[in-house]
Amino acid sequence: MHAGKGIAILERVWPVLVLVVPLMAVVVLADLYGSVMFQRTVTDALIKIVLVVGLYIFIGNSGIVSFGHIGFAGIAAYFATWMTCCAMMKPITMTGLPDFLRLETYSLWSTALVSVAIAGVAALVIGLVLMRLSGLAASISTLAALFIFHAVYANWDSVTMGRASIVGVPTYVTVWVALGGAVLAIAVAWLYQISSYGLATRAARDDEVAAQASGISLYWNRLIAFVLSGMVVGLGGVLMVHFQGTISVNAFYLNLTFITLAMLVVGGMRSLAGAVVGVVVLTSVADVFRRLEAGVDLGAMRLSTPVGTQEMFLAALMLLILVFRKDGLMGRRELRLPRFPGTGQGREAP
């Protein structure tokens, strides 16, 4: 009886463990043996995991592709910048900030919490309007939200310095901090996924009419998913800005939107494992080709591929994956504990 309960718990947390433990192993290796460049690549991948898992919480569960979430990362990142950045420059160059931001600098913990909350508020405000839509209309309107974010922040000179980079944000994000963020994001996503709200949202994804007939509110369930994913993506934005030390509005625009979406699609849009696998696969492939471009020494010979091959191979790989596995690498599956005899029926993948 006792063992059965243990296995039941293990079965519940297994999909998280199986994602987190390998990530930890990579981080330990990077910390012990990796060069600066390798550590930074791993850190960057972990931050991308936070972003992509954040996207997954909404996209995977609701089935609505959102192009606007990177805007929430940008909103959180800018708020973190205002709270922590450059005490010398801020009063002079960001004159439009209220005094409590312009003249004060805050601790990193409170900054992260507040910034994530701000991203949540932004997601709530936008979600209140957009979640009334469904399907393609919702997707397109999220893209419009991203454009609005970009236009406002790129031209709000007195607080964002326009399109210029703000340099000098404290950089505390090491590979371990990024790992913490990724683990947190994965845990939140999993908890949401197995909660009743997650189940309701997925039910609405699979059959709107049937879900409504069962008394599920499309609007409120999607709104919860939207706000939660906005906050996780906001966390990704905060980590990103404290990793790079610089911020510019163009960093939170179409490029980041499409690379994170591509990672999610390649991994599998409807699986949490897919979100993580997509980031790992695309980052690894990009890194291998980057090294090839820089040149590899083979004895006396030096091989290097022409500049630009990385993008070409990445594009070809993504096409191949989408042609042959159109649900992404993981399809709709999670990585589940292998069935033990006597533990009853395995559940269907959520």
Binding site: V36, M37, R40, T93, S165, V167, G168, S248, A294
Partner: protein, 404 residues
């Protein structure tokens, strides 16, 4: 891992000079001075980084041939930042971890600052090849950060002063490209200098566009509706939008002088506007055989000998003079430690480099009054007109565009 990634000729030359050094110097000689270039070799920024990088290599090789700096040879290596801010930070940190005495970063604040920040935080000297944003300095990056170019504001100042004082232009219409901070800095400088000699009413209007706008027809319509028509048009832009805008302006029959900024120098884009004339801008040097300075002709000849082709961009001179500046500062400081070199550079007053006299101060780590070669387009080529040194020194308010 970071790999030495040099052009073939440079690798050869470096290995030859290293061999020569090994023969000439005893093994116990001082370690070489190490310069790391964290610059773009791919992506759009590569167009602006590649030539200054070659210029810098030329000066480094000259120094090495002449016995080195403080008796030490200079070793350099380069790593591609791929025109990516985040990757630039990574490359910068990697180079810092491997140990460099000077980190040279991209020709732009947005692209260069992440790498410069890595060096600055590690207490290592860092210089941008040619960023024109004053934030590329003590205020925007760190105390050991410099840039080897005039500020964007200075470009606007030079053009405005030259237009009002030498060309006798009375009125102007400003067309501002909002896509880069650089353009806005130049326009701010232009306005400030223009208002020295003329009143606000002589600026007949101001309009904006974005570099990737396919058409500026509505801006042109507003411009044509003005009465009286302006004597001149000031526009600071970069390719491809700049060329496209000029073509549209000329096609609309507007033949007034167009005053531009340095990023539009050199002939590579003139094919887009056949028969363009009366287009003025402040440039660095003429690549077309008519530069008034003899030393420029010598430099161009040396460049062709070293690289087997003529330079594609006049930004090349900034890289050369960047190394000249570092060389002078190190030899005066008798050290490569960042605080000492910084102090020596901050004391620069009209030091004569190939690109012109250069001044830094403890507050301002960007050049403010290095003379320009004013140029005009005729017969489908830029032509040197004369050297002009701007007189208005922008203050901190103008440099950081406070309250504008």
């Amino acid at each position: 891992m970071l790999k030495l990634n040099l052009p073939k000729g440079a690798t050869l030359a470096a290995s030859v000079s290293l061999t020569a050094m090994a023969v000439a110097l005893p093994a116990a000689a001082d370690d070489p001075i190490r310069i790391g270039f964290a610059i773009a070799q791919s992506g759009w920024m590569a167009n602006y980084d590649a030539e200054p990088f070659r210029g810098a290599i030329m000066r480094i090789e000259e120094i090495n041939e002449a016995g080195g700096l403080l008796g030490r040879q200079i070793e350099y290596r380069v790593s591609d930042t791929r025109t990516d801010q985040q990757y630039a930070a990574t490359v910068g940190q990697q180079m810092v971890a491997e140990g460099v005495d000077l980190l040279v970063v991209s020709c732009d604040y947005d692209m260069g600052a992440p790498a410069a920040l890595a060096a600055s935080q590690a207490g290592i000297m860092n210089i941008s090849l040619c960023a024109g944003d004053p934030k590329m300095g003590a205020q925007g990056v760190g105390p050991y950060t410099f840039t080897a170019n005039n500020s964007g504001q200075t470009e606007g100042i030079a053009m405005a002063e030259y237009a009002t004082r030498e060309m006798g232009i009375e009125t102007v219409y400003i067309l501002e490209d909002l896509s880069l901070e650089y353009h806005r800095s130049a326009v701010a400088g232009f306005r400030a200098a223009w208002l020295q000699d003329r009143d606000e009413a002589s600026i007949l209007g101001r309009d904006t566009y974005m570099n990737d706008d396919p058409s500026i027809a509505s801006q042109i319509t507003r411009l044509r509706g003005l009465d009286p028509q302006p004597d001149s048009l000031y526009m600071c832009s970069v390719m491809p939008g700049g060329g496209s805008a000029i073509r549209q302006i000329r096609a609309a029959g507007i033949d007034t002088p167009i005053l531009g900024c340095t990023a539009m120098v050199d002939n590579y884009w003139l094919g887009a506007v056949p028969g363009l004339t009366n287009f003025w801008l402040p440039g660095f040097m003429s690549l077309y055989g008519d530069d008034p300075r003899d030393e420029i002709h010598e430099f161009l000849a040396a460049y062709e000998e070293r690289w087997g082709e003529a330079p594609g961009s006049s930004y090349v001179i900034n890289g050369y003079s960047m190394v000249e500046a570092y060389e002078l500062a190190v030899s005066r400081a008798e050290s490569v430690e960042a605080p000492a070199v910084t102090e020596a550079m901050e004391a620069f007053t009209d030091e004569q480099f190939l690109a012109g006299p250069s001044t830094y101060t403890p507050e301002v780590h960007i050049l403010l009054d290095r003379p320009y070669l004013m140029m005009n387009v005729e017969d489908d080529s830029f032509r040197a007109v004369e050297i002009y040194r701007p007189t208005l020194i922008p203050d901190m308010q103008l440099l950081f565009r406070i309250g504008q």
